[in-house]
Symmetry: C2
Subunit: 232 residues, 2 copies
DNA sequence: ACAAATATCAATCCATAGATTTACGCCAAT
DNA sequence: ATTGGCGTAAATCTATGGATTGATATTTGT
């Protein structure tokens, strides 16, 4: 992707101009890096990225006007080859998780040694994703907590397991937004039969209407292809 | 959690008895570890865990009868302090992702140096989560791909952004399974007003009924607290 | 200060959804 | 051979949902 022998082009976005200057000097010490721009404004940053298409963006996460998360999202939407490394003062698990989720390729704390930042830049430039092990640990704890609830329902208490296979088919079509007529047509059975099935589903799931049935299904691991939730 | 000076108690589950023996010998070389049991069967393994409540379980992922994923899930359901480290022959991103999702505290390849396994055990025993950087990279690539679709819908094409704040409130209540009457009561407005709002929502989201509206909302980032999908 | 968007409500009408009961053929388990 | 679960279906009834029109008060932007 990157031109042979050309310098790695880096853009810095940080509302703290002192920190901005410090990082710039740090990076300029490395002969193979080049800072193509610095700005304290996320908005201006986006425009600079469009203009210069840098290889790497170092993005401060704790900014007032437009926060780092949204800035990263905007950058990702541009679909350039620009890779974002998030910079933050704190190891806030939620922030790390969200930054990685929307496409940050790395996350480094400002308190970390400068060598770590350089290393992160190298790794990310090489196409890898880099999280220092401390942050990686925090990320995974948060990640697992996020999914813990989803998993904890045992098979015995998950009412979905009481459904017959035909009822599952019907419920699946319900979770795709079909009405009775649509389901009847798709399963080649009469509408009244569908009603019978749906009523049985309501009884088994202990709900009152199709919307609640659909919600129960989605929230309790019903494998629906359109990923309202990811199956284990 | 762990008794001072007591050895770290480890259980091995791997359907390949050769590998099982090898790992056992490897671990017994370490003076502060103790293998409390080994088995080639996941089912038996679960029972051994109940009985011995080991600190660490090394779980092979590629087993025939009951696969490693389900075994891990069963272990997690026991809610013991037993920590599972997954062992696998391949760096299958999907498998790594799913294992971590359901609660594995580490993931090590069988092809990795034995020192790496020992290190992983130490880290996990110390309460951390350990993924070698190679696997960590694979995990994050997979993780980001999983969420890429969800994020890519720009604000302009996401019909939810056309809703007024009141309509959002109403839709929120719809996604909780309320009917007209329930929504009217909760918002202290008449049922007919709710109908008006809901009709406007249908128009804006280009759907025909409440179920489709709810599905649209869930699939397009509508912040619902019960996290059918996680907000950014 | 004025236009446009929003929130509220009513009345009506038709379609769909949901509850209930009854029934029949099929298959699997005992 | 019989029972019980399942899938199929119909008939009937009531409740809820959804479309449409029209109206008024309030808020918001310029």
């Amino acid at each position: 992707m990157r031109e042979f022998r050309s310098k790695l082009r880096i853009l810095l976005i940080d509302d703290n101009s002192d920190h901005l200057r410090g990082v710039k000097e740090l990076i300029n010490l490395e002969s193979n890096y080049e800072v193509v721009g610095t700005t304290t404004s996320a908005h201006i940053g986006i425009n600079l990225i469009k203009k210069y298409q840098p290889d790497i963006v170092l993005m401060d996460m704790n900014m007032p006007e437009k926060d780092g998360l949204h800035a990263i999202q905007d950058i990702e939407k541009l679909e350039l080859n620009t890779k974002v490394i998030a910079l933050s003062g704190y190891d806030d698990a939620d922030l790390i998780f969200r930054a990685m989720k929307i496409g940050a390729k790395g996350y480094v704390l400002k308190t970390m040694a400068s060598a770590q930042l350089i290393y992160a830049i190298d790794e990310v430039a090489a196409g890898k994703i880099y999280l220092p092990s401390v942050l990686s640990s925090r990320f995974f704890e948060y990640f697992q907590n996020t999914f813990k609830e989803e998993t904890k329902l045992s098979e015995s208490e998950n009412l979905l397991y009481q459904l017959t296979s035909r009822e599952e088919e019907v419920l699946d079509l319900l979770t795709q937004g079909n009405n009775y007529k649509g389901i009847a047509k798709k399963l080649f059975i009469s509408e009244t039969t569908v009603k019978t099935h749906v009523n049985n589903i309501f009884q088994k799931l202990q709900v009152n209407d199709r919307t609640q049935a659909v919600l129960y299904a989605l929230n309790n691991g019903f494998a629906n292809k359109r990923k309202a939730k990811m199956a284990v």
